[in-house]
C-alpha cells in the first residue's frame, strides 16, 4: 500500500494496521526518513511532488519489491508540504516470514524511491532557500540492485 499525505504518521499505528489479523508474518522492518537541520542551516523543508505520477511511481516500485522478495505486506507513506527539522518525511515498512527479505526489500524501496519518485525538496534557513540537489550516491545505490538479482 502507498500513501502521499501532508499529515504526520504514527509508525506504531501503521505497523499495527499492517499486521492486524495476520499470523504469517515473522519479520517487520521499518525505515523512517526525517528532516535534518544540518548544523542550523535548515529551518524548513518544503516538499513538492507530481500528483498522479508520484502515486504511480510508488506503486510501481512497491510492485517491483513484491516481485523480487516474498513479502507478506508493505507500506510506503511519503509526506508533502512544509516540514521542519526532526519531522518525519517518509515511512517504509516491509513484512515477511524471515528477516532477510524484509531488510532487503526496505532498502530497495528507499533506494528506488529516492531516484524515481517525483518529489523535490526545497530547504530554507538563515542563508536563504535553495532546491536540494540530487545526490549521485543515490543513483549508485539504486543501480546496484540492477547488478545483483534478488537473493
Amino acid at each position: 500500500m502507498i500513501r502521499v499525505q501532508a499529515e504526520d504518521f504514527d509508525i506504531g499505528a501503521e505497523i499495527g494496521r499492517l499486521k492486524a489479523g495476520r499470523r504469517d508474518i515473522g519479520a517487520i522492518v521499518a525505515f523512517v526518513g526525517t528532516v535534518r537541520d544540518q548544523a542550523g542551516a535548515v529551518e524548513e523543508m518544503a516538499l513538492e511532488h507530481y500528483p498522479g505520477m508520484t502515486e504511480a511511481e510508488l506503486q510501481r516500485i512497491e510492485a517491483e519489491a513484491c516481485s523480487r522478495w516474498p513479502l507478506q505486506a508493505s507500506l510506503i507513506v511519503h509526506r508533502t508540504g512544509t516540514l521542519r527539522p526532526s519531522d518525519s518525511i517518509v515511512l517504509v515498512v516491509t513484512a515477511s516470514e524471515h528477516r532477510e527479505a524484509a531488510f532487503r526489500a526496505a532498502e530497495f524501496l528507499m533506494d528506488y524511491l529516492k531516484t524515481s519518485a517525483p518529489f523535490w525538496k526545497r530547504e530554507s534557513g538563515p542563508q536563504g532557500s535553495r532546491w536540494v540537489e540530487a545526490n549521485p550516491g543515490d543513483d549508485d545505490a539504486a543501480t546496484r540492485w540492477k547488478k545483483h538479482a534478488a537473493e
Binding site: E48, Y50, M53, H78, W120, W131, E133, D138
Partner: protein, 85 residues
C-alpha cells in the same frame, strides 16, 4: 490535438508557469525536439532549459529519456532530478 505540459521545482520557477496546454508543431517528435522548441518560446524558457541535459522528462507520468518519441502523449512533464525520501 493539444498536449498538456507540466513544469516542477526550479524548472517551474524559471519558466514562471506550472502547466499549460500547447499545440505542438508537427516537426516536434521527440522530447529533445520539444525542449529545443520550448527554448525558442522566450527568455524564460531559454533560461529554464539552458542546461537541458540535467532536466528529466516524463510522458504520461512515466520517466523517459530525451530521445523518447512523443507519439500520442497527452501529458509531458519536465523537472530536475528527484530528491524525495
Amino acid at each position: 490535438m493539444s498536449t498538456r505540459l507540466l513544469y516542477f521545482a526550479w524548472v517551474k520557477e524559471k519558466t514562471g508557469i506550472a502547466a499549460e496546454e500547447v499545440e505542438l508543431p508537427r516537426e516536434v517528435t521527440t522530447v529533445a525536439e520539444l525542449i529545443a522548441w520550448l527554448k525558442t518560446r522566450g527568455p524564460e524558457f531559454d533560461h529554464a532549459f539552458a542546461r537541458s541535459e540535467v532536466i528529466r522528462a516524463a510522458i504520461d507520468r512515466t520517466h523517459v529519456r530525451h530521445d523518447a518519441a512523443i507519439g500520442a502523449a497527452r501529458e509531458i512533464a519536465f523537472f530536475p532530478p528527484v530528491t524525495g525520501g
